[in-house]
């Protein structure tokens, strides 16, 4: 059963029949984490790099931003029994429009903010499909931990 993760949203699960899905990532980023032993996984779809843009909104919905959404994703998975050292981390999204080297860089800034948070917390990314100008849908299958991306041109990429 597909469990939909919408924009600025996260879902966690330990139900093996669940597939977590987030549709059509543009410059947003999807973060999928999975503990194969506990069979616990979570998927976050964050939109912007930094909650200092609007701290009020971040309180209301932490999933909007990388710096508030990512810690919450991990915490909620720990609550279901996941252990940090076992987590597999896969990310997708962060697309850019063409030719924006200095401008229209929200995708790249999202990615940089996420990397910074991971680095600070000793989290490694196992696999990623980021950047470029593709639109991606990200899936995480709870039964197996299999994570894959489908682009709008119907290409499938296993992560």
């Amino acid at each position: 059963m597909d469990i939909l993760v919408s924009v600025a949203d996260l879902k966690v699960s330990n139900q093996t029949e669940h597939v977590l899905v987030t549709h059509a990532l543009g410059s947003c980023i999807g973060v999928a984490i999975y503990d194969p032993q506990a069979r616990v996984g979570g998927l976050l779809h964050f939109m912007l790099p930094d909650s200092s843009l609007d701290p009020g909104r971040a309180l209301e919905n932490p999933c909007m931003f990388a710096d508030t959404g990512i810690p919450r994703l991990f915490r909620e998975c720990y609550n279901l029994g996941a252990k940090k050292y076992r987590l597999q981390v896969k990310v997708a999204g962060g697309s850019q429009v063409l030719g924006g080297q200095e401008h229209f860089q929200i995708g790249r800034r999202n990615y940089a903010a996420m990397r910074k948070i991971f680095l600070k917390n000793n989290v490694l990314i196992d696999n990623e499909d980021v950047g470029g100008c593709k639109a991606r849908t990200l899936f995480l299958e709870l039964a197996s931990g299999r994570t894959w991306v489908k682009t709008t041109s119907q290409e499938i990429i296993q992560l």
């Binding site: 939909l4 912007l48 100008c133």
Partner: protein, 294 residues
């Protein structure tokens, strides 16, 4: 081989632009519009009153009391807001068919057009544009060229994408290279056939800034920016993804920083949830189902 003759031939079979939207277009930006003029517009499409009430009562407008009549809607929302609703409802007929060249989903083009209209409306308010009232309408109609070009793009999609990927050209330029014409030009041609106001036709034709003059036209720049921001937001993205060009000139013109763009996206994110009723206008059952697809 250019497909221009075939494409132009398909314009000959263009259906008429929906009468109710056509009449409403003429009232946008008019200083004073009487209730009688609005009644005269709406009478061309009896189903539209139901849509007007549904949207007026939706979370998007956040009114405290329920609206039961056109008169009440006019009093509480004002003429220009009401015209936006009428044009959006009237335009649905253009978007009834899938546009497989651009969107894998049946309602993709409609949903993109609505998103762009909502974003354009937001930007027009934030940037206090003189022609602000026309921006929502221009957003809804900016991609009408895709309705006609879709089948041709679908046939040549691999070839067009190859130009994008190998030569790094934006998608609309690749359309021009492969098909001989792009969706903005065809849209401009449709606007001419349908006798749209000149400003609207210019915006549709130039919304990818493919003409040097368009860099000086604030409404064209605003629709271009709205389109780009909607692509970044994601969701109803087309098969071409974000393959459109970034022109930093637009930021200078409106004196915007990157951080402002983030604020627009943030603002749009909350408004988008409340605006699902607009997406649902295209076929109720399917629309509601799609509204939850995020």
């Amino acid at each position: 081989m250019s497909l221009i003759p075939q494409i132009l031939r398909s314009l000959k079979n263009l259906p008429p632009f929906p009468m109710v939207a056509q009449r409403a277009l003429l009232l946008v930006n008019k200083a004073e519009v009487s209730i009688q003029e609005l009644v005269d517009v709406v009478k061309f499409d009896p189903a539209i009153t139901a849509n007007i009430l549904r949207i007026a009562n939706s979370a998007y407008f956040g009114l405290r009391r329920e609206i039961h009549s056109l008169n009440q809607a006019l009093l509480l929302l004002g003429t220009q807001e009401l015209l936006k609703i009428i044009i959006a409802s009237g335009a649905t007929r253009l978007f009834g068919n899938a546009a497989p060249g651009y969107f894998a989903e049946q309602q993709g083009l409609w949903r993109h057009s609505v998103s762009c209209a909502l974003m354009a409306d937001l930007l027009a308010r934030e940037l206090t544009l003189a022609e602000g009232n026309l921006c929502f309408t221009a957003g809804i109609l900016h991609d009408i060229g895709k309705v006609v070009l879709s089948l041709f793009v679908d046939q040549k999609f691999a070839q067009i994408m190859e130009v994008v990927e190998v030569q790094g050209e934006p998608f609309h330029k690749a359309e021009k290279i492969v098909l001989g014409v792009d969706h903005a030009e065809i849209g401009g041609e449709m606007a001419r056939i349908w006798d749209f106001p000149d400003r609207l036709r210019q915006v549709i034709k130039h919304h990818h800034l493919n003409h040097p003059e368009s860099l000086g036209d604030e409404m064209v720049l605003l629709i271009y920016l709205a389109d780009l921001l909607v692509l970044m937001f994601g969701q109803n993205l087309g098969r071409e993804g974000l393959a459109y060009a970034a022109y930093p000139e637009v930021l200078n013109r409106f004196n915007l920083k990157e951080r402002d763009l983030e604020k627009f996206l943030l603002h749009f994110g909350s408004l988008w949830d409340d605006a699902q009723v607009f997406f649902g206008l295209l076929g109720n059952d399917h629309g509601l189902q799609c509204a939850h697809r995020g």
